[in-house]
């Protein structure tokens, strides 16, 4: 049984408009580069940030008054996605699956900074609860009135695909009638510094896929609403699992699709780091007529949120060409990769 995408929304450094962001991605536009660095940072790092005006719809929500950016982004994206199906939420029959990679890093770093500076008793009780990975999904559930399954999935970029797989399982098992899959990521200098140590951070724009030049980390959020019935694009995820040979595993996933399509349209996850070697190797099997789009070149790397953004890109592309499948390729730091096939019925 394959679920249908009933609604979708994103909040990106290039804005919130569905068609406008997609057009900018196709045009190769680049987000506005900001510089992120704290007093403890060795260097200042480039980052793509979301303009706060893009999620000011969350201002005035009492539950969110002390929340970090990641929660505000998640609530705004989920609310937008649901608005496309008329905000119909059955509290116990609507599941919520949230995906993140680094989570609430801003408050985590701020809380630990207090400990490091002033000792173990100095931590703020206001900051600590917002550091847990499921704080954003808790806020989304509270704002939307969801009382059944509301769960957080964590991991690398492929966590976005894992979240869709989990939502599919819940729908298939009859545990829910609708599933809202939302992913969000925020930026803090500590994350940029850590990934720089891991040789993944670029010193400046642009992001060049397959260059190993490094990537630019970004804030973003995206949400899709899934159901087993309705008009919309179908989405089917296949995951490679934990593999000692990620290149071979990813190639195998793509091969199954290429065999059936002589003009594949692929939304790639290449982000300018050495991880791109997995996709570069796998894409060698694609025919010359293939079309490949790299959203992270425009929007930066926001891990699980980026993966959902890729899915929405594929959804828009498939709606422009009914009956033709669009493939999403996702590769993360864990060696687990995934592909999703999105298709709008002709």
């Amino acid at each position: 049984m394959i679920p249908v995408i009933l609604g979708s929304a994103w909040i990106t450094p290039l804005g919130r408009g569905r068609e406008s962001v997609w057009a900018q991605i196709l045009d190769g536009a680049t987000s506005s580069e900001k510089r992120v660095g704290g007093p403890e940072a060795e260097t200042v790092h480039p980052a793509y940030l979301v303009d706060p005006s893009e999620f000011d719809t969350t201002s005035g929500i009492r539950r969110l008054r002390r929340s970090s950016t990641i929660s505000l982004l998640a609530v705004a994206a989920a609310t937008d996605a649901l608005s496309q199906i008329g905000h119909s939420v059955d509290p116990l029959r609507t599941a919520l699956v949230f995906a993140a990679s680094d989570g609430g890093v801003i408050y985590t770093r701020r809380f630990f900074a207090e400990l490091a500076e002033r000792g173990a008793g100095a931590g703020s009780p206001i900051l600590f609860p917002e550091t847990v990975y499921n704080a954003p999904v808790s806020h989304v559930a509270a704002c939307l009135g969801i009382e059944g399954t509301a769960t957080a999935i964590v991991g690398d970029a492929s966590a976005g695909m894992t979240a869709i797989s989990l939502a599919t399982d819940l729908l298939t098992a009859g545990e829910c009638d609708r599933a809202v899959v939302v992913a969000a990521e925020e930026i803090d200098w500590i994350i940029c510094e850590a990934y720089a140590r891991w040789n993944m951070t670029a010193t400046s724009a642009p992001i060049e896929p397959f260059s190993s030049r490094g990537t630019i980390f970004s804030e973003a959020a995206a949400a899709i609403v899934l159901g087993m019935e309705g008009d919309g694009a179908t989405v089917e995820v296949k995951t490679s699992g934990l593999s000692r040979s990620p290149r071979a595993a990813h190639r195998k996933l793509l091969q199954e699709l290429v065999d059936e399509d002589d003009q594949p349209f692929v939304i790639a996850s290449a982000n300018g780091t050495r991880l791109d070697s997995v996709e570069r190797s796998a894409f060698q099997i694609l025919p010359a007529a293939s079309r490949i789009v790299f959203p992270k070149r425009s929007l930066g790397e926001a891990f699980a949120a980026s993966t959902l953004i890729q899915v929405i890109c594929a959804t828009i592309a498939s709606q422009e060409s009914p009956g033709k499948s669009v493939t999403v390729s996702s590769v993360g730091t864990s060696g687990q990769s995934a592909v999703a096939t999105i298709c709008t019925r002709g």
């Binding site: 173990a120 931590g123 499921n134 769960t151």
Partner: protein
């Protein structure tokens, strides 16, 4: 009767536990864990790995690094792993050892903080301007998937991975997910569990919330003053009954139900009316059409905070007033993302070996909370239907139903 309805179910859709492994303050390995449970041993000790002088609490349930090192003797590269990788590896190896030939379709693990202590070390390195020399493997090991990769890959597992992070309910969520995918036919074999390591940030966090105690952890006691943190890892090999039969593996217990609900009352406090845990337990019972009156024993979340125990106690009293109840957190502390998985292992041991675990440090019951607490010593009663509860920040409420196998 519930047992008859279970026996009539498709063996491809019944989820049974055929392997368990545990690394916790109770001991490394099932044998040590069982011994500590039988003795109702208090395994809490003073924290020495970081400075707690500014905190109210100074104790935790801890696993000695020397014990980990000894148990990992001969495991290549394990000395370079984060402690949580080491704990999880040992638990996973033991669970797989108890279920020979187990090849999972899925890995489902819960955690709250991954390799947090490496993140703390990195921040301090930034303060000291030594970040450029900070080991890259430690940066990588901060991420929640790395300990699972270390454990799974070293144990030869290549199945897809799902990591649940819903605070203190994470471990139960992960085990419950194994039940869900087997019940729905989406998988036949799942390695599931949870892990978390003691970390300064988390320790200070619970202290900042005034949730931690400066004395003993006293679940459900009238004079309880808060929780004691812990650490550990537990893994269960869960498969369909058909798969277990086909491979000749011994069934230790059955996962018969799972319920999860979200309580939107507050980010850190449960709705005092007990509706969250009650609905989760009802969900678990509904999955197997088991009447609440049939429950013999409940392994409670029981953190010994004022709010949690009052809320959960109210829920238990209203739904299963005749069930025996204990929280094992008095013995080993609250291991957060590992707790639900460790407690699922404890419930499996209780069913398989025929005893009810003790709720230690219990002197007097709370006002208006008339529960049958298994006070201070184990009870030599063989439970057949057991609920295991976990309640987490963000309103995460989860409950597992474990039953004695009819096989």
């Amino acid at each position: 009767m519930a047992d008859d309805s279970l026996n009539s179910q498709d063996p491809e859709r019944r989820a049974v536990i055929t392997g368990i492994g545990c690394t916790s303050p109770l001991g490394i390995g099932i044998s040590s864990t069982l011994q500590a449970l039988r003795e109702a041993r208090d395994c809490i000790s003073p924290v020495t790995s970081f400075d707690t002088s500014g905190c109210r609490s100074h104790t935790a349930g801890q696993i000695l690094d020397s014990d980990l090192e000894q148990s990992l003797n001969g495991v290549r590269r394990a000395h370079r792993w984060h402690r949580t990788s080491q704990m999880l590896f040992l638990a996973m190896r033991e669970a797989l050892g108890g279920a020979p030939g187990f090849v999972p379709d899925l890995v489902s693990i819960g955690t709250t903080s991954g390799g947090m202590s490496f993140g703390e070390d990195f921040y301090r390195a930034c303060l000291n301007h030594s970040a450029p020399r900070f080991p890259k493997r430690k940066v990588r090991s901060y991420l929640p998937h790395q300990p699972i990769l270390d454990a799974a890959c070293t144990n030869g597992i290549e199945a897809p991975l799902r990591i649940f992070s819903n605070a203190c309910a994470s471990g139960t969520n992960a085990v419950g997910h194994a039940f869900q995918v087997i019940r729905s036919g989406r998988a036949s074999r799942v390695i599931c569990g949870g892990y978390d390591g003691l970390a300064e940030l988390v320790f200070a966090g619970f202290d900042a919330l005034q949730a931690a105690t400066d004395e003993k952890c006293r679940p459900f006691d009238r004079n309880r003053t808060g929780l004691v943190l812990g650490e550990g890892a537990a893994v269960l090999a869960v498969e369909s009954l058909a798969s277990a039969r086909g491979h000749g593996r011994q069934v230790l217990a059955e996962l018969s139900g799972y319920g999860e609900v979200t309580d939107n009352f507050h980010l850190t406090q449960p709705n005092p009316d007990g509706s969250g845990p009650r609905l989760a337990m009802e969900g678990a019972l509904k999955a197997s059409r088991t009447p609440a009156a049939a429950i013999d024993y409940i392994n409670a979340h029981g953190t010994a905070t004022t709010y949690n125990d009052a809320c959960e106690g109210r829920a238990i009293r209203s739904l299963c007033p005749n069930a025996a109840v204990s929280s094992t957190k008095g013995q080993m502390g609250h291991s957060l993302g590992a707790a639900g998985a460790i407690e699922a292992v404890i419930c499996t041991l209780a069913i398989h070996h025929g005893f009810l675990p003790a709720n230690i440090n219990y002197d007097e019951g709370d006002v208006d909370m008339d529960l049958d607490i298994v006070a201070n010593n184990i009870r030599p009663v063989a439970p057949r239907r057991v609920l295991s509860n976990s309640l987490g920040f963000g309103g995460a409420n989860a409950s597992l139903l474990l039953t004695a196998s009819g096989e």
